[in-house]
């Protein structure tokens, strides 16, 4: 990726398409029943030299790079909330924030440990793009690391709650359950050493807040 200082998502290039959005449709694996394709709706502009969160224009585009650690994840989610609340509604932004938190937490926990130190490994940062479009907010998250295990992407039930006793309650295992429940048009593809997840947070959710 010339001139991008290693920040542009390393996707297969096609002529006339910005490398950062050149998602190869054929390479995408869709998770779940929908057959729609989300990528055309996502057109993040070139990342600025600073590589940090910058609104491309007055419409809701958000592009950033972050080191996958809990503090940068928190900071990024707060930026996303600030940017999208005026352009969407609290419920949709709440669902966006939750799904992104679960994806980014998974990367922080299971991804490349070197990526957590952004000074030593800037090229291993997580790339995140989000944009409003008809139907909701589309997102792409990309990280360098191990391939996402197929069982994470398979439809999954809630973790077993045990026999009703508090001591048997699960304290984890909810992340992918939440992602799959709240995200629509969920696609996954592996590109070299990068994982790429694309999905839609629909404006009208069957699963509202309270």
């Amino acid at each position: 990726m010339p001139g991008a200082r290693g920040r542009t998502i390393a996707l297969p290039q096609r002529s006339g398409v910005h490398p950062g959005v050149a998602l190869s449709q054929a390479a995408l694996t869709e998770i779940g029943p929908s057959r729609d394709r989300p990528a055309a709706a996502i057109a993040p502009k070139a990342m600025p030299p600073g590589g940090m969160a910058v609104a491309a224009d007055a419409s809701a585009h958000f592009c950033t790079c972050l080191a996958p650690n809990p503090f940068e994840i928190r900071r990024t989610l707060l930026q996303i909330r600030k940017q999208f609340v005026p352009l969407s509604d609290d419920d949709t932004v709440g669902r966006l924030e939750l799904v992104l938190a679960e994806i980014l937490n998974n990367i922080a926990e299971h991804g490349d440990p070197l990526a957590q130190n952004d000074r030593r490994a800037p090229h291993r940062k997580v790339h995140l793009s989000a944009a409003t479009a008809t139907g909701g907010i589309y997102c792409i998250v990309s990280d360098v690391g191990e391939e996402v295990p197929s069982h994470c992407l398979a439809p999954r039930p809630l973790p077993q709650q045990g026999g009703g006793a508090a001591v048997d309650l699960p304290e984890g295992g909810f992340g992918w359950f939440i992602i799959q429940l709240m995200a629509r048009k969920l696609f996954y593809c592996r590109d070299g050493r990068r994982n790429i997840l694309a999905f839609l947070i629909p404006q009208d959710s069957p699963i509202a807040a309270a």
């Binding site: 937490n105 508090a166 984890g172 909810f174 309270a210």
Partner: protein, 116 residues
């Protein structure tokens, strides 16, 4: 790391009211939250009324921490959640943990004012 979790605890009669003074219960504070809860519960009282009124975001790490606190409660000490904001309620409902926790719909201020 070293992030602190701010909790404010008030013991009145046998109710220990614990207010989370942070807007987020997430992966950055899940462990400090559990540690700090363990510490403040030693203040005493029987029922622990956990006020999440200031928390407007919780992820599954925060939920895991809440579940860990619930599991660590001695048998005779009920844990009651109050002040749940929409994003917190949603995570509890999606994971069906709303049926596991005792949830008090009134706010802590109402409860302390003795509102019926």
């Amino acid at each position: 790391m070293g992030r602190m979790m701010k909790l404010r605890a008030d013991l009145k009669d046998d109710v220990l009211a614990v207010r989370v003074e942070d807007e987020r219960l997430d992966a950055a504070v899940a462990t400090p939250f559990k540690d700090e809860m363990r510490r403040v519960m030693e203040i005493g009282g029987r029922t622990v009324l956990l006020d999440l009124g200031q928390v407007d975001f919780m992820d599954s790490s925060g939920l895991g921490a809440l579940i860990a606190v619930l599991k660590s409660m001695p048998g005779q000490r009920p844990l009651v959640l109050t002040g749940l904001q929409p994003n917190v309620k949603r995570v509890l409902r999606l994971t069906r943990m709303d049926s596991v926790f005792t949830i008090e719909p009134a706010s802590l201020a109402d409860l302390q004012a003795g509102a019926a």
